[in-house]
């Protein structure tokens, strides 16, 4: 469409933001009324609640069983017993909730627009004073709200995990916010694709593939991409102290660097680490705060979430930050959380979902000039 109409829309929006937002609110109300009256949503929610509860209970049971076993055999207190089961339960439940939220969100969002098209109700909305953006945002917020209900249902278990492990409420807050954001990203992708694709089945499958791409595809492309980053790094020789204790230490790498700098082959993982950053698990894990390990006293075992975050940051740092004695410097074995990775990943995810939403918005403009093959507007 001409840029003139866009300008007009923009200026109309600027002149009166109230009607624009209230239009979105009315679409959300329409969508939610329909969703809240479908039995399927409640059934899914109930299954979800039961499943999350089961996972929480199983994690706790397996932890206490192994703990009892260790206590009986060794008579001492094991390492995990010091921190309690909390960190473990929290991490398992968080990973589970994220995984299933990523699986549920496409089902709730990816037929939002073309489902209406198939039912003949989309054109009813389009013929009113609603702008295409209002329809699209309304659909998105409704899908997001429906998906957030699943997160709300799993909150009790996250609280249990945090409470048992003596973690701070900040964990719950940050993790819930990040889960909500990730679910929102998937919903935006789903709504955008549903506006582009003709058939609901097709758009749902494509959205699942997009989610699979984010979760698995990023790992694969990072793995394969790393092979293309063969390069060199200047480094000299680490001299390990003979009496180095076996336990790893966050600050002291246990070696000194000596000798002339020589070229060593290394993988420049920092060039492809951005693919890893787009992984929803990496984004969530990296955003969750963990204790400052550079202070020696707090150092205990590293949890899975922290491990994911650290691994991703190692990849981002590249050989200059990870190869022993790169540029003649001693490398800390542990990277502080001063340069977070998640804003990059989240930014890339936002670009992707924003692009799809924009394409979806283009396809909702009326009077329509181009139609997707085989779609009828009414």
């Amino acid at each position: 469409m001409s840029s003139m109409t866009e300008n007009r829309e923009v200026s109309a929006r600027r002149g009166a933001p109230g009607p624009y937002l209230s239009g979105i609110a009315h679409v959300v109300a329409l969508e939610l009324k329909q969703r809240l009256r479908s039995r399927g949503w409640y059934i899914m929610l109930a299954i979800w609640f039961a499943l999350t509860g089961l996972v929480t209970w199983l994690t706790w049971a397996s932890w206490s069983a192994s703990n009892a076993f260790q206590t009986r055999d060794f008579g001492g207190v094991s390492g995990t017993a010091l921190t309690g089961p909390g960190s473990l339960i929290f991490e398992v439940v968080l990973a589970f909730v994220l995984l299933f939220a990523l699986l549920v969100a496409p089902a709730l969002s990816a037929n939002a627009v073309n489902g209406d098209r198939a039912g003949g109700t989309l054109a009813i909305l389009q013929v009113t004073l609603l702008e295409p953006g209002q329809i699209l945002w309304g659909k998105f917020f409704a899908a997001w709200a429906a998906a957030l209900a699943f997160l709300v249902a799993s909150t009790p278990f996250l609280v249990i995990g945090v409470a048992l492990g003596g973690l701070t409420p900040a964990y719950i807050l940050v993790s819930l916010v990040m889960l909500a954001v990730e679910v929102g990203i998937v919903c935006a992708i789903g709504v955008g694709i549903s506006a582009l694709a003709g058939r609901p089945l097709f758009s749902i499958v494509v959205t699942y593939l997009a989610v699979a791409g984010l979760v698995v595809g990023t790992l694969i492309s990072f793995g394969l991409g790393t092979g293309l980053t063969q390069g060199t790094v200047m480094a000299n020789n680490p001299q390990y102290r003979a009496y180095a204790p076996l336990q790893s230490d966050p600050v002291d790498a246990g070696y000194t660097c000596a000798g002339p700098l020589r070229e060593q082959s290394a993988m420049h993982t920092e060039r492809v680490a951005w693919t890893l950053a787009m992984n929803p698990f990496v984004v969530v894990a990296d955003a969750i705060p963990y204790p400052d390990r550079t202070v020696r006293q707090n150092f205990t075992s590293i949890g899975a979430i922290e491990g994911i975050s650290q691994a991703a940051r190692q990849a981002m740092a590249g050989p200059d930050g990870t190869v022993a004695c790169a540029n003649g410097k001693v490398q800390p074995t542990y990277l502080g959380q001063k340069t977070p990775l998640w804003p990059l990943g989240l930014g890339l995810q936002l670009v992707l979902s924003g692009f799809l939403m924009w394409l979806g918005w283009r396809s909702l403009r009326t009077p329509a000039r181009k139609l997707a093959r085989g779609t009828r507007i009414a």
Binding site: H26, Q34, I124
Partner: protein, 319 residues
Amino acid sequence: MAIISEQPGGQQVPDDGITAQGVSRSFGAVRAVDHMDFHAPAGRVTALIGPNGAGKTTLLLMLASLLAPDQGSITVGGLDPVRNRAEVRRRLGWMPDTLGVWESLTAREILTQMARFYRLPASGIAPRVTDMLEGVRLAALADQPARVLSRGQQQRLSLARALIHDPSVLLLDEPASGLDPGSRVELRTMLRQLAAEGKAVVVSSHVLSELDEIADGAVFVNNGRTVRQQTTEEAAAAGRRYAITAADTAALAAELARLGLEFRREEGRRPGVSLVLHNEVGAERLLRDLVLAGVGIRSFAPAAGALEETYMNLEGERR
């Protein structure tokens, strides 16, 4: 901002109804609409008539500002839908051929939502919705989910939905399909009333007999082209075929032959003759002549509606 003018009348429409000039629209290689002209004046019911696949729905979608024409222009009350989208949509009411109701919502909720989407003032919505529900006789079912409504009831709801913002141009795509005879009569009355209020009413259909009673004028389309525009009076003036049956068909035929009229024998369930008469005065005179000649006339009536006559003639020309 006054969106609805409650008083009926065509005063709010200085420029007349809805007009399409030379519009074309293709879907890929298929030319659905090809240089079609269309005009529906305010205060009248205009029928859009054509066989299936003639381009009626595509034209209506373009008139409803959902589809942009490849070529040509459309004006609604003198405004261009592309430039004055909001203004045009306030004036347009559209009832699609696919009903498209939100099945889990009640009739009242559907109309309320639509009123909000048209940005009607919040305080006026509830009474307006109640009025509309009574107008289409759905008040008793107002709080039932739309999925329990029958097809005819859903059709009436769809009509109320198209009228909720009191549009000055009403586009109805096959509004009578699936309606029982009683509901058709009701629809007819309602459309006449809306036209009397000064709205431009466009009805697409291929059920022609009832359009005679509703429509003031008709636009015939076929193969994506406007084939003919005429008013119902013009259609009637163009001559109609009358069917006559008599107690003694032979006597009737003899009398007609004596009068020098060209006729055709109809060998249907009730044997009789049919012939083309140019106007109603001629029909009146013929009937009197036949009765005075002592032929026992059993029935004497137009064989088909005036619009049907034109339609069938067009079909004939096409072959």
